[in-house]
């Protein structure tokens, strides 16, 4: 089982959204991490055949992305997707099952099974327009796995889920990831930390880093420090380094920061996390979202 992405590029006029990405994905869960506008959604849409690449190709076990056989192996949950508000969840799943080529009885059985799995059985006969955001998201996850796909692409799948639902979702993905390729993107770093065997960091249309969690955070190993300093010192450190956490403690300020050497006398080196790495890589982008 092999999904080959070969020099995949998408260019919009003078902006390159995805820049010559080449990857080979095998069985397992891949977490795609990147700031807004880094090209994650564009990449995923091309992997699903929804968006035509400017150049490059995508093949699964030798089958091109444009072929029906490829789509037969695919499950996709788009980031911002809609439903038919007048349909019930059950009808919606039956429709999606028809689109995915499931036989009538098999579609009915699978729809019931998945509604149960995503805890929507009680609301199965209610119109989707009455659903909350989390319920819609769960329904989206259900439709993505209706055809038992070999490739599952999930764009921001945990958006709108409450913590309990997120934990259930992670478990589900971990289970599914044993015999298929799962690529998921999220802003919630802990989701990727917990379920992704392989992490892909995307920036400016390129995969800038890839590897397992331990391997990937090696890049900032020994460069993450925590310290508690007075206000003056804190201001100075904030202006000089990437701050990954900040907390006011009485008249002192607690800081977690990334720098090449110990930033002050009482700083202690701590184990790096994926969140540290994420903030380190994306410190220049989305300046309006900066911590300070």
């Amino acid at each position: 089982m092999e999904l080959i992405i070969d020099r995949l590029t998408k260019q919009y006029k003078n902006k390159i959204a995805v820049d010559r990405i080449s990857l080979t994905l095998n069985k397992g869960v891949y977490g795609l991490l990147g700031a807004n506008g880094s090209g994650k959604t564009t990449l995923m849409r091309m992997l699903c055949g929804v968006l035509k690449p400017t150049s490059g190709e995508v093949k699964f076990n030798g089958i091109d992305v444009s072929q029906e056989e490829y789509r037969d192996s695919l499950g996709y949950l788009p980031q911002d997707f809609g439903y038919y508000p007048e349909f019930t969840a059950y009808e919606f799943l039956l429709y999606m099952a028809s689109l995915k080529g499931l036989a009538k009885q098999s579609a009915k059985d699978k729809a019931k099974e998945l509604l149960e799995l995503v805890s929507l059985s009680d609301s199965a006969k209610k119109k989707i327009k009455t659903y909350s955001g989390g319920m819609k998201q769960r329904l989206g996850i259900a439709q993505a796995i209706l055809n038992n796909p070999k490739i599952l692409i999930l764009d921001e799948p945990t958006a709108g889920l409450d913590p309990k639902e997120r934990v259930r979702f992670r478990n589900l993905i971990s289970q599914l990831g044993t015999d298929r390729i799962i690529l998921l993107s999220t802003h919630i770093v802990s989701d990727i930390e917990n379920i992704a065997g392989m992490i892909l960091i995307m920036k400016d249309g390129q995969i800038v880093h890839k590897g397992g969690l331990d391997e990937i955070i090696k890049a900032i190993d020994g460069r993450v420090f925590e310290c508690t300093v007075d206000a003056g010192e804190a201001g100075k450190l904030i202006s000089m380094h990437t701050i990954t956490n900040f907390r006011q403690e009485n008249d002192k300020t607690f800081l977690r920061l990334i720098c090449d050497k110990s930033p002050c006398e009482n700083a202690i080196s701590v184990k790096a996390t994926l969140e540290d790495l994420y903030l380190y890589y994306f410190k220049e982008v989305n300046t309006d979202e900066k911590l300070f």
Partner: protein, 400 residues
């Protein structure tokens, strides 16, 4: 194949799950039935007083005409009509308000119309001047009028010759019959056809573009059948919806009209309704032809809607453009002098719906083959529909 029909079923479900579509369809049925009976509503007034209700008037006319039915349109009936109209005294007002008209001439009002058209008379008073000799040569005079009208056009000699030849195939003498149900059906079908055009635009417009606005396009296009079967299913849904709606509203029009006006007269020649028509059709044949043309016009309209739906981003834009396409030709009058423009203009769906144009005096020389305008309409609708469908198909398939 089963999965294909299931997909069509879901497309219909999307249409009928929208309450607004159901309301529109119910309103369309009501409007069709209501407008079919429009001429029966209200009263006829003479000197400010109710003379009779329009319904009573229709029944009276029907009885008058039925009393003359099955007679030949020949010198006897024409002379009776001329005699009856001669009894109407000169009046400054409407001659139909006179007692003499109501008492003597009214039963012959349709015969009078045939006489005036055939003899080229604009004023009813001129009818009085016709002599017995004139009346005896009625069919020669009528054929002369037909051939003159053909000769006055800018058709090529081959086209004129074809039209004259066709007009000579019209069987004479005409058997007179009451055709009120069919003639009302002919008038009503224009309104019905336009209504079908609008409703199709509203209900079919979201077939493709609705997926873009609902943001369901990604789900569809990434699914197994998303780039083939489901697009075919959508196209079949649009076409079948248009066909079914045309059949349904035609039946509503037909049944309503025939229930109230009477359904006899189908075997009468179309010349009873269009005295100078060159086509050797009976009324019922003309009705079937009219239905076929309305169906073709609406199929073409549906194909245009689907193309726009696949190419534009919102159903609203599709509806706006279709409204412009449907309404604007009503305000444009194209001269018959430049015939190719005139014929092209008549190929706009809404312009196909005029029966008088369908059964007009023109023949068309199509690269050496002489055809009738209604044949061109059918060929054009099918051909353009066949061209537009793949464009709609690729529009959705390649949607990014």
């Amino acid at each position: 194949m089963k999965s294909f029909f299931r997909l069509i079923g879901f497309e219909y479900k999307k249409i009928f799950k929208k309450r607004s579509n159901i309301v529109i369809l119910l309103i369309a049925v009501f409007l069709t039935a209501f407008s079919s009976l429009g001429p029966l509503m209200g009263n006829y007034y003479i000197k400010g007083e109710i003379f009779e209700s329009n319904y009573e008037g229709m029944k009276r006319d029907r009885e008058y005409i039925r009393s003359l039915s099955d007679r030949e349109v020949g010198s006897d009936i024409l002379s009776e009509a001329i005699g009856a109209y001669s009894l109407i005294p000169p009046t400054d007002g409407k001659y139909t308000d006179t007692d003499e008209y109501q008492r003597y001439a009214r039963p012959y009002s349709e015969i009078n119309y045939i006489i005036r058209k055939s003899y080229g008379m604009n004023d009813w008073k001129e009818v009085k001047s016709l002599t017995g000799k004139d009346v005896k040569s009625f069919y020669d005079v009528r054929q002369g009028a037909v051939e003159r009208s053909i000769e006055e056009t800018t058709m090529s000699p081959a086209e004129k010759s074809a039209s004259v030849s066709l007009s000579r195939q019209v069987k004479t003498p005409f058997a007179y019959s009451y055709t009120g149900g069919y003639t009302r059906f002919f008038s009503q079908m224009y309104t019905t056809a336009i209504l079908i055009c609008f409703i199709c635009s509203i209900c079919i417009a979201p077939l493709f573009s609705g997926e873009y606005t609902d943001k369901t396009d990604s789900l569809i296009l990434s699914s197994k059948y998303g780039k083939n079967k489901v697009i075919h299913a959508k196209l079949i849904t649009g076409i079948s919806f248009s066909v079914l709606l045309t059949i349904m509203l035609t039946i509503v029009s037909y049944v309503t009209v025939m229930m109230f006006f009477g359904r006899e007269g189908g075997e009468a020649p179309i010349q009873i309704f269009l005295p100078l028509s060159i086509h050797p059709f009976t009324i019922v044949q003309a009705a079937l032809l009219y239905f076929t043309i309305v169906l073709m016009g609406n199929l073409l309209s549906a194909a245009i809607v689907m193309l726009l739906s696949a190419r534009l981003k919102s159903p609203f834009m599709v509806m706006v453009i279709m409204t412009v396409i449907t309404v604007s030709p009503m305000f444009i009058n194209i001269s018959e002098n430049t015939l190719w423009i005139y014929h092209l203009f008549n190929l706009i769906p809404v312009n196909m719906f005029y029966l008088s144009r369908i059964l007009d005096k023109f023949s068309i020389d199509l690269f050496g083959l002489i055809v009738q305008p209604y044949e061109v309409t059918v060929i054009f609708s099918v051909a353009l529909g066949i061209i537009l469908m793949p464009l709609a198909y690729s529009g959705f398939k390649k949607h990014n």
